[in-house]
Symmetry: C2
Subunit: 361 residues, 2 copies
């Protein structure tokens, strides 16, 4: 099977960008709050974004869902990660047992945590927080993209469809993206190189902690994968040839979340890859990106540059490089704060506070 997009349902998203009237109303509400104009800085631009994306000048975040999309990667066999591939399934069990960073942070903030098995090399016991989204023929992970397509077009389309259907079943109006998959910084770096045109060395990083020799080896392996799939050019072809199953599933989840008017909280390098693919599949990427809040700029080499390519501004700069959705969970209360500024703060008028001396307010 070739990697044409023939098996692929056209994108379903035409996410609403807030209309100008709403934007003006929200800005006017913000400006009337008891604070100097613009003095809450990034929290105000976040509040404006959330109001527009949710289409509500009094935005309220309901039943936030953090989903960790997990899968294994054939390219791990090339020795591109500091950790063995078995860590993917071990960490899935750790998420479900509540001991991982993302488990701890989700619990702190009341985020409902779901783990989606998009192709982990394991057969898990049933668990109330585990959903099986394995794809026929790729149940235990993607193929090694240095030797073959990472997945067939049919598998890629099935994974995207899985992601859409998962989100369609989830309650609430906010989706926080997490992921797990040993070697998935390799898949994400390949997607970045092909989608942005950046030289590969701007896209490849140390992942979970490669040393210099490990990084050089990873880059050489990824060069081979890019060479092998030189013909893959459309976003769908690129995803099929180079991407991972958890990334493809996330692409569908992102499409569905945006189409249903939800907020999408993006974590680090891998989840940014999924957003970048989803945006590239859109005729109007801005509509989809308007729903995305980028939680942080990670330490992974390519992340800051990719965020600049997307024209987005992350909330935190914490030097994180863990993934799992840990950064998305960490930043979550900032979104809550932004909503509360709009809905709970007094106005100059209601509080009887004087305006500027020069009446410039």
């Amino acid at each position: 099977m070739n990697c044409s997009s023939s098996a692929f349902t056209p994108t379903i998203v035409a996410a609403a960008l807030g209309d100008d009237a709403l934007r003006q109303r929200v800005q006017s509400v913000l400006d009337g709050k008891t604070k100097p104009l613009g003095s809450l800085g990034r929290l105000e631009t976040l509040a404006l974004q959330l109001a527009l994306a949710l289409g509500d000048e009094r935005p309220k975040l309901r039943q936030p869902q953090l989903v960790v999309f997990a899968a294994d990667h054939g390219i791990a066999a090339q020795g591109v990660s500091a950790y063995p591939a078995e860590v993917t399934r071990q960490m899935v069990r750790n998420f479900l047992a509540g001991g991982a960073a993302v488990s701890v942070l989700a619990r702190q903030h009341g985020l409902n945590l779901t783990v989606a098995d998009c192709g982990v090399a394991a057969d898990f016991e049933p668990h109330p927080q585990l959903v099986l989204l394995k794809v026929p023929g790729a149940e235990y992970g993607s193929a090694d993209s240095t030797r073959a397509l990472a997945m067939s077009a049919a598998q890629c389309a099935a994974a995207i469809d899985n992601g859409r259907r998962l989100v369609d079943r989830l309650p609430g109006n906010a989706l926080l993206l997490g992921e797990m998959g040993i070697a998935n910084t390799s898949a994400a770096a390949l997607l970045m190189a092909r989608l942005t045109g950046e030289p590969l060395q701007h896209c490849v990083g140390r992942g979970t902690g490669l040393d210099d020799a490990g990084l050089a080896h990873k880059q050489a392996v990824l060069e081979r994968a890019l060479d092998r799939h030189a013909e893959a050019r459309t976003p769908f072809e690129v995803l099929t040839a180079l991407g991972g199953l958890e990334i493809a599933t996330m692409v569908g989840a992102i499409q569905q979340a945006a189409a249903s008017g939800r907020i999408i909280v993006v974590d680090g390098f891998i989840t940014t890859a999924a957003v970048a693919v989803a945006a590239a599949l859109e005729p109007q990427p801005a509509g989809l990106l308007a729903h995305c809040v980028f939680a942080h700029c990670s330490q992974e080499n390519g992340h800051a540059r990719w965020l600049r390519h997307l024209g987005v501004e992350p909330l935190l700069d914490f030097g994180l490089r863990l993934g799992e959705g840990s950064g998305a969970a960490l930043a979550w209360p900032l979104l809550e704060s932004a909503c509360r500024i709009l809905t709970e703060m007094a106005s100059f008028e209601s509080a009887g506070v004087s305006g500027r001396r020069d009446s410039l307010r």
Copy 2:
């Protein structure tokens, strides 16, 4: 009365820096958690700081107290603020009514909010969240430092003592600093110029939103205040000559919080001024600074530079310039997250997760 420190009780702080054995134990616990070494970045250094400052490898934040220290400033009569001085008392009422940004954020995070009247030009009705810390002879604010000492040495010492006694009565192990006082960026800029030796233009900013002409006027006024008090050199003399009553009260609060082993969450430019004075009063400033978490780098002109002078790294860079403690409240969940990483995450051993392939972990 001159501004010698004769009326001033020597500092009471000799805050414990965590011992090396504890540091090694905490680092080893962090390194054993199920994540690549150091992959939670700034959250790990924060966790280490909190553990050392609280002297506990399983740190727990209890009954956090946010105090808004409020006072009026004689120098406001020189037209250095975009807002009229009456806004100080109006905002105190807004804090107590629950409508200010800091009220909203404190409510979101379960922070107990107290407003301390350190010299506001008003007589407030009693309120359960209001404490009166007015100083004899300066009940309605400091004097105009372009014409006189901002406060007498006795008043300054009394304000510091008020701050110590307030914190001594507060429960819990964390103090979040907030402030309100029209023209208090002027007082803070003067303190910065004299304490750091930076040229005044590196210290003066737009405060609540001065335009270029307003900024030039503010700088000219502050030059006069500095010239008038050229002889003020010791930290206590500088505070007495140039500082505000809320800043002096905060200095005492910070000393007491550090001496009693609490975490101090610093907000923006004004609260940083109080920490800088408190640190300058210490024989070993590092002991006091070890208790301080700097919540954010504000938009106010001098703040980033002052943080560098203090050698500290703020958590957020959100372009805030509101004060009130709003940035400290906004950042609070990050401190909670840091503690939970230490206390709730599984270790590689307990979770049965494999280590690095190269066994370098």
